[in-house]
């Protein structure tokens, strides 16, 4: 499957990934990504020629969910948790507005 990635496509992906790419970055990624996608798209042909059903592998070892015992144990203190915050106030993370003005 060949899927040329337009500059608009890159801009859309950047918005999904929450990165405000500059115009220059959009140009550069728009030029670089098709060559990389061309290379990685080879996996489709490999899977087709493998014929029989190949199971997908998401992880190298069998995984089961792991729970610890439901017993209280010390975690980070409030000060430790806030120690790297860009801004905090009244023992809480201070963040920009998350709702529109009219909401």
């Amino acid at each position: 499957m060949s899927s040329p990635l337009s500059r608009e496509d890159v801009a859309h992906l950047a918005s999904l990934a929450r990165i405000s790419l500059s115009e220059d970055e959009l140009d550069r990624l728009g030029a670089e990504l098709p060559a990389i996608l061309d290379h990685v798209a080879a996996v489709q042909g490999v899977v087709e020629s493998a014929g029989a059903d190949v199971a997908p592998m998401s992880h190298p070892v069998p995984i089961t969910n792991v729970f610890r015992a439901d017993e209280p144990s010390p975690g980070l203190s409030r000060d430790e948790a806030l120690s790297g915050a860009p801004a905090s106030e009244e023992d809480r993370f201070l963040v920009p507005k998350i709702l529109g003005e009219e909401a």
């Binding site: 990389i36 080879a42 899977v47 507005k97």
Partner: protein
């Protein structure tokens, strides 16, 4: 240069144990060495002389009091700056975490502290471990001590340069697609990627969680094994941590006997793209292993050549998800968009991620976002997961015939800074030999096998073993190390 800095960790440990040297002396020697050469190497992003000397003094006092101490107590170590350390910044080589000091230690760091290893500082890396040259560090590239105009490999390039240039006898690296083994090859040192799940990832900044693994870097196979035993073993804080005994790697490193060992040479890792000087050193190493009694078998692993394609889908997909946590809210950089007096959280997020991430990180996030998009998921990510199965099946079939696989670690020796910067795909192709092990979760080791006759630079040989058979790597590696002595750097080549 003080002789102390040139000692193997095992020899330094013996001298510490018999009292002929103190940890404070050894640690101070490393700090002096770092001060003398790191201006040329940029291997360290942060040096903690005070903290390292305090640990050293504590170990010396306990030893003087007659306390029985772990083998490596007092032997200094450098830690890749992707691994959380309380009291020292952890940047992941990124502007988005500049100055961040973690509120908790990674489990591997907890274990280093418990074993009494003074932590000299944090080493340079490609941003978030994304790269094969260290040129993607936001803090400038680390340089190769064999030629400071060349790359030290990556992403654990700072750790490799530090160990190769005698700034530290030991270092921790991380390996997602070859990031311990390839810089080991480029700088002529030993580096091990343990079995996936063999070493805890708790407190290690995640790049691609199904591939990442922490491992030892050192100037001898035995030294790497001693460090492996310190950091390995089950950790309830990592759900992928294997709850089984740690393979006896130190015993295997002391044995080092390949008589009767079946060694598979991977047919696909030769020919086009492989530097002739690398191939010649590799062929000589194979011949010496055969002379020492190993049974050499040519094996074919046809899916290995598709490893890069699968890797550059699986890894960016996981990256795009893992790096979503850098959202400018709870830690790290926060940047407000220009000309917006009252930006929303989402606008701040997008502006911060543009300002804080470098080109390679953005490239991989966008690629992963695309591979996981509705309509493309099956064709890209889904197919890559199936190729991953094919690669694992190739390993299973190969290990029915042989005990270990052997190949060059990298197709070339170290290239010049900037040589591949404009061609991301060319850089990705350098990881052809190392990636299959990460996709399948099996362990691998780089062992230096001399200097290439065409470039004069270090060449590495890679052994791969079945999952949880890490001791086979150390046995074969120690034998190879005796047959082909590692090249010794006289002094940093500026």
């Amino acid at each position: 240069m003080s002789d102390l800095t040139r000692l193997h960790a095992s020899d330094l440990a013996a001298q510490l144990a018999d009292g002929s040297v103190t940890s404070v002396e050894a640690t101070q020697a490393q700090i002096d060495r770092i001060a003398a050469v790191d201006g040329d190497l940029n291997a360290f992003l942060h040096v903690d002389a005070e903290g390292a000397l305090a640990t050293a003094a504590d170990v010396d006092a306990r030893r003087a009091a007659g306390e029985s101490l772990p083998t490596l107590a007092g032997v200094p170590i450098a830690v890749k700056d992707l691994i959380n350390t309380v009291g020292q910044p952890t940047t992941a080589g990124s502007k988005i975490l500049e100055g961040w000091v973690p509120p908790y230690d990674a489990t591997v760091v907890t274990r280093l502290r418990a074993a009494g290893l003074p932590i000299l500082g944090k080493t340079n890396l490609d941003e978030f471990a994304m790269g094969s040259s260290n040129e993607h560090s936001a803090y400038g590239p680390a340089r190769n001590p064999w030629d400071t105009g060349r790359i030290p490999g990556g992403s654990s390039g700072g750790s490799a340069a530090a160990v190769a240039a005698f700034e530290a006898p030991l270092a921790l690296g991380t390996d997602t697609g070859g990031s311990i083994r390839q810089p080991g090859a480029m700088t002529g040192i030993v580096g091990v990627k343990p079995t996936y799940g063999g070493v805890s990832r708790y407190g290690v900044i995640a790049m691609a969680s199904s591939l990442d693994q922490v491992g030892p870097m050192a100037r001898s196979v035995l030294d790497a094994a001693l460090l492996h035993e310190v950091i390995a073993g089950h950790d309830p804080r990592d759900s992928t941590s294997i709850d089984a005994p740690v393979p006896s790697v130190v015993e295997a490193a002391r044995r080092g006997d390949v008589a009767g060992l079946r060694i598979g040479v991977v047919r696909e890792f030769a020919g086009e793209g492989f530097q002739p000087g690398v191939q010649r050193r590799f062929d000589e190493a194979v011949a010496k292993l055969a002379d020492a009694g190993a049974e050499i078998v040519e094996v074919s692993c046809p899916s290995f050549t598709h490893g890069i394609a699968a890797y550059y889908l699986v890894m960016p997909s996981e990256v795009s998800s893992n790096l979503a946590r850098f959202d400018a809210m709870r830690y790290g950089l926060r940047v407000s968009p220009d000309g917006n007096p009252s930006p929303s959280a989402e606008q701040v997020m997008a502006a911060t991620r543009d300002a804080g991430f470098g080109d390679e990180v953005k490239r991989r996030i966008i690629l992963g976002t695309y591979a996981l998009s509705s309509g493309y998921y099956d064709a890209y990510y889904g197919s890559a997961q199936k190729v991953r199965t094919l690669i694992a099946q190739d390993f299973t079939a190969a290990f029915e015939q042989v005990d270990v696989l052997f190949s060059p670690t990298a197709p070339t020796t170290a290239w010049r800074l900037g040589e591949k910067s404009d061609d991301p795909l060319a850089m990705y192709l350098e990881d052809v030999c190392t990636i299959p092990a990460n996709l399948a979760g099996v362990p691998g080791i780089n062992v230096p096998i001399g200097l290439a006759d065409d470039s004069g630079l270090p060449v590495g040989g890679q052994f791969l073993a079945p999952a949880q058979a890490d001791e086979r790597l150390y046995n074969a590696g120690a034998a190879l190390e005796r047959l082909v002595p590692a090249p010794v750097l006289e002094e940093v080549v500026r």
